[in-house]
Symmetry: C2
Subunit: 317 residues, 2 copies
């Protein structure tokens, strides 16, 4: 099949490139750890030329579309945010254009929800478009949960991003694991290594659920007052040192759910979908069930589908 | 005046030593950055001998009393926790004894509140005893707030530590400031340097109060959902990059107050006292006022007074 589009998912920590056919199928893909903060010598043009090398072919230049932090002030070319509500039409109309070494790139704008507490996203909007394209039951409204470093809870109405919130759950977890007193047992090697797979699997689930339940039962005072228990429960012998990070993960994801579900009023009956890394989505699915939200579907990474859809809408393909 | 006691406040990040008279007055004091994690070569005995050098005098050995993380599993000599309720009598009776190079040290036990969510302290108990000794109005009951890396909220009844909670506010703030995306503007040098002192003073207060109010108004969903606003408000030009850390400090201290004041039911009418670093106590006093708690007294560091009182009670002096 003939290549028709190059799509780039260029975020903070990684760069993924896809060569797509006229039907949006992936013909080839490449990944580098060249997130915008780790591009060799900060040279975006060379990083781009390297990752798409050989894809352009002898017959001229394929259109290129990119989404993610590459369009931020710290990226290659800053693209203004589009203000909510934002759907396919607004994103396609807001593409910014950049010429590099003869190739023309289009960069998808990020989205801003300019409320009393403003929220921004870059990259998730392409995933959302991809999810909407694949799952017609997300119309007329849906709640999309995108777990990660900065988890997003997105309310989508009639295919448009209506409003969204950000929870820094993944980043706070990583900081506590890597730098705080709570991560010390795990950093000192108290991992649950050596356990048979099935037992290890059961074990993280138990510790994780214990953290979730503690967060859920914390009531309005919330789980921040419980963080220290990830240490003290170990001190008093009521939690294994090797289990404390899974418990902490449960506390933090539980706190995210506690807050987000309290904030979720109008869309209460809308379907809930998880989008993102399958292992992380599994944790969130467990968590949602424990919080009484059981009808949840998981949609794997939909960046490529979204980039394709935006490119088509913009007439690039 | 004749020296009668050596008192050590030996915590995670620093070691303070005091030479005390028969009336508990400070005759001499020394400080080193030899917290238990930073003792040269991990040699506690040499660190001790160095900091008290010359204090013992020719007429024999003075008694030595120490409190803090020095009595933890990571310290010099582990001393079991005393379970709440704990007052002067229990602490004096629980002193552990250690002989080093001819000198006998007594180490004050930590305190554990063995609830569903266990809590522990090491070092704060000496401060509490000191505060109770100085402020008779903390009888028959009081709420003591000890801000810091791991803030403690302590309910004291009839001079005994009845129950307490821990908030990792200081540690979470430091992690976000030093390692997260929220601290990047400040790390990149957007400090409010160059402002006249009075203006700088007004400025941090405004940003800090703004964070406090946001946390207070967050309702039951809490301020964790607002952390990202320390970045987005800067992005949209509604908060100066140089002000974002003070705003973040307000969010986190506000979240601590929101949780702790919700949890505080039985002791509602008890007097509230802040104990600790005066600059941090100033922030907490501002915060408490904004949360409707206006009758707050601040008691400066009372470790020495507490160590003296425990030593007297144990018959060391």
């Amino acid at each position: 099949m003939k290549p028709r589009l190059i799509a780039l998912d260029w975020g903070t920590s990684s760069l993924r490139a896809y060569l797509l056919s006229g039907a949006g199928e992936i013909l080839d893909e490449r990944a580098k750890s060249w997130g915008i903060m780790h591009v060799p010598d900060g040279d975006f043009a060379t990083a781009f030329a390297t990752i798409v090398q050989g894809w352009q072919g002898p017959n001229g230049t394929l259109p290129v579309i990119a989404a993610g932090m590459i369009g931020s002030a710290q990226g290659w070319h800053e693209v203004p945010y589009q203000a909510c509500p934002v759907g396919l039409t607004q994103l396609a109309a807001g593409l910014a254009s950049l010429v590099s070494d003869g190739a023309r790139l289009r960069i998808v704008p990020g989205v801003i929800d300019p409320g009393a507490v403003p929220n921004v996203m870059r990259g998730e909007e392409a995933q959302i478009i991809g999810a909407l394209d694949r799952a017609p039951d997300l119309y007329p409204r849906a709640c999309l949960i995108m777990p990660g470093t900065h988890s997003k809870w997105v309310e989508v109405i009639d295919g448009k991003i209506q409003t969204f919130a950000t929870y820094m759950t993944g980043e706070v977890f990583a900081l506590l694991r890597d730098h705080s007193i709570l991560g010390r047992p795990a950093r000192q090697g108290a991992a649950s290594g050596g356990l048979p797979q099935e037992l290890a699997n059961q074990r993280w689930r138990e510790s994780f659920e214990r953290g979730l339940v503690a967060a859920r039962e914390s009531g309005p005072s919330g789980a921040m007052s419980l963080l220290f228990s990830a240490r003290t429960l170990v001190l008093v012998g009521r939690l294994g040192a090797q289990d404390s990070l899974d418990y902490l993960s449960g506390l933090l994801i539980g706190e995210e759910l506690r807050c987000a579900l309290l904030a979720r009023t109008s869309a209460e009956t809308a379907p809930v979908a998880l989008i993102g890394d399958p292992r992380l989505c599994e944790r969130y699915e467990m968590a949602l069930q424990l919080f009484g939200v059981s009808d949840v579907r998981t949609i794997p990474n939909t960046s490529v589908a979204g980039l394709w859809r935006i490119a088509v809408s913009a007439g690039l393909v």
